[in-house]
Symmetry: C2
């Protein structure tokens, strides 16, 4: 008998690892256990499915179980839920929901890609059927179905992070009356307050009833109770972030860290020989803060999964870490961030200066030029770039990639000032907004030194 | 009497230097000599003026002479053409076209920002009034006027570089019948042939009659003679590149180098004390090829001008050099390049591998997702990124900035593979095309090592 790789979780991390391992090891037997009914889908596409920009659930599936079977010889077992891992016996106990039975699957190597789940704080009524999380395509389909029902006119979104804002917009697109309730004083805690205010403005302008500093106290059918009064709701969407599904690993004796995410080394290996983890269930190393933390993003899951797969396949790959990049589009406003915000830099003990500038996404005279605000955080004395935030119209968000690259290369804001960034009137002003911000940040570092 | 700075040339480099010097030296007397009638304009906007996307010539002027006078106390003298520099006497001989007189203006410091002019090879008839170069706003106005005349139905553009392609598109927008004649076998010699072919396809699809490998042999009123036969032309536009206006400096005894561009050090200083040069008339240092060469781009001119101005003002600034970034939009197709192409890398003696990939600008399922092709050139053995080229739909070009940043930081393609670039369905697939290309390039480097 040959060697067997068992993969728990048929989404980004698990299936990236599986297909990468297959490329390197044609001989490997690969079994993938997926408790749902789909593989490798874009959960990030759910808001656009609900909003109507994407018409077909299946278009969010990058690769189907059949693709994996036919092209990669991966034995994908749907509705198979791993319920326990036995590291000594090297086997996984699996609940086969299709046949209502439990079986044991032995492994030589094990890849854990169990993902994350929407955070549901212990608020009365949070488990009502009208209170929806957004994580799997099944969630997306349930939401879509609920949204299509005639009575779904009043939608309350709880939480003003990426998913909350995207879902709020989606329901506006559907013609619903949308209230977004956020316990914090700002939307997007991943931005500094001054930048988040720009997003809040855009959200309100789009017709969303945004209520900040209003914690939710309970749910009842038809009503959301908040510290600021009751809000009528045919449907509630939770956007309170996610928690890593690290319990299965923890119960097997594997170490978990930040928020319960699985601890891995740079090769995505757990402390157990031949046991790997990646994606939303695992920790990531942040190159700027130098902390291990939990980041649930499809792009990170794919990268970590690939690294795990190379190593499982006998190759050598390491995941260098993240710099905390994230982006979204809220109504017509693009939002992106990378590195550390002011708040995060302070927590990490950095001393820093900041610079914020307003510019335009294209040459000012070019049709379609829109406003963009760029904020940079730079370390005092050294001028090292610590982070950046951008809010603006079309073309704003992707500019964060220059900053993400600069963070990886540990560049200073002085290094950024004269970067040879592209310019043409449809794309940028002659001084790209990122460079204008860098110039101001460099001047702030210099002034601070004196 | 105080110290006087004389600036020759009232556009990007000259006026950036002047206003930067003013910030640092409130006491300095600043005189700017401009032979035309405008200051600080966007020559890059001319195609959009002619095409109709930009309606007003004046909107291309970033700062008028009045702005400089009132806000920066810079004495801008229009229609004043510097005709000689005397470095011993430290004076400039100036032809005042407005009053038809010649005067001498003494300087303590001199900033040369004389720009560039369209290249006019010695082809019979090239100086006909129907044969237009595109450089100054006056050129733009003349073109616009010619285009508005009833008889301007057949336009021939000579040269398939940035300006040639942009002008060809502009005249298509105006409803003209446009033929683009290029002596080389490809458009855009700044791209490798395989990438240029993608651009050629887009150009032809847009209805432009593109004739490659057809040198122009002469011009007559109403006709362009080419090696491939005559083409009827009410109007001819030259897009054969530009030459630096380095003669004035050369005649004064200053060194000129590549194509006659003025030699400067990293502070934008010429060999003469207190004499500076920047922008289209000066050389630039290319960080990858490590050559001094002539690059005529508004963005470089502004940066070099700023550096010169800081130094003139008594500060210390250096221009780090360029990496050869350029971008344009041709019809709906975005084109960008940075670093070295295959051809350039070979000339510079690099041994390299290349990788080319096709992907989409957004998540494949997201509305508006379009094709994008990315090509990378990486050094053999070391894997150092040497250059990149991108051709694709909306969102393609600005991705070159990641590569430009990586070139400045001397990153390898392996460093790029797991960069934490932003992802959201409206902006990118989960693996950004740049990362997909990096992965393929890294694999090519690895395979080559074995």
């Amino acid at each position: 008998v040959g060697e067997r790789l068992v993969v728990i979780g048929g989404d980004a991390a698990g299936m990236s690892a599986a297909s990468q391992a297959r490329r390197l090891r044609p001989d490997l037997e690969i079994v993938a256990l997926e408790r749902g009914t789909r593989t490798s889908y874009s959960a990030c596409g759910i808001p656009y499915l609900v909003g109507g920009a994407v018409h077909d659930v299946e278009s969010l599936v990058a690769r189907s179980p059949r693709d994996f079977r036919d092209r990669f010889r991966i034995d994908v077992r749907l509705r198979h839920e791993a319920v326990a891992i036995d590291l000594d016996r090297r086997s996984v106990e699996v609940r086969d929901h299709g046949h209502d039975r439990t079986l044991s699957v032995g492994f030589d190597q094990l890849m854990i890609g169990t993902g994350a789940r929407p955070f549901r704080p212990p608020i009365p009524g949070i488990d009502l059927p009208t209170v929806h999380g957004v994580q799997t395509l099944e969630d997306g389909e349930r939401l879509l179905e609920a949204a299509r029902r005639a009575r779904c006119e009043r939608v309350v979104v709880v939480g003003g992070g990426y998913i909350g804002l995207e879902m709020a917009e989606a329901f506006v697109e559907r013609g619903a009356e949308v209230t977004l309730v956020e316990g914090d004083r700002q939307v997007m805690r991943t931005l500094d307050e001054d930048m988040a205010d720009l997003v809040a403005g855009a959200v309100r302008k789009h017709g969303i009833d945004l209520r900040l500093g209003v914690p939710v106290t309970g749910f009842e059918p038809g009503t959301v109770h908040t510290a600021g009064g009751d809000v009528a709701a045919d449907l509630v969407v939770l956007g309170l972030g996610v928690l890593p599904n690290g319990e299965l690993a923890a119960e097997a004796g594997l170490a978990t860290g930040s928020r319960g995410a699985i601890v891995v080394n740079r090769r995505q290996q757990t402390a157990a020989e031949g046991v790997w983890a990646a994606g939303d269930c695992a920790e990531s190393f942040h190159l700027v803060s130098q902390r291990h933390l939990h980041i649930a993003l499809g792009t990170v899951a794919n990268k970590q999964g690939r690294v795990a797969g190379v190593n499982i396949g006998g190759g050598y790959a390491t995941f260098p870490g993240v710099v905390g990049t994230a982006a979204t589009k809220v109504c017509a406003t693009e939002v992106a961030r990378t590195g550390l915000t002011e708040r995060e830099a302070a927590i990490d003990g950095f001393r820093f200066v900041t610079a914020r500038i307003d510019s335009t996404t294209r040459a000012g005279y070019f049709p379609g030029a829109g406003p963009i605000t760029v904020k940079l955080v730079a370390e005092r004395e050294t001028g090292r770039l610590l982070g950046g935030q951008l809010v603006g119209q079309e073309g704003a968000a992707k500019r964060v990639d220059v900053l993400a690259t600069a963070l990886s290369a540990r560049m200073t804001v002085h290094d950024l000032v004269d970067l040879d960034l592209s310019y043409a009137p449809p794309f940028a002003p002659v001084w790209d907004p990122v460079l204008v911000a860098a110039r101001k940040a460099a001047a702030a570092v210099d002034a601070d030194r004196r």
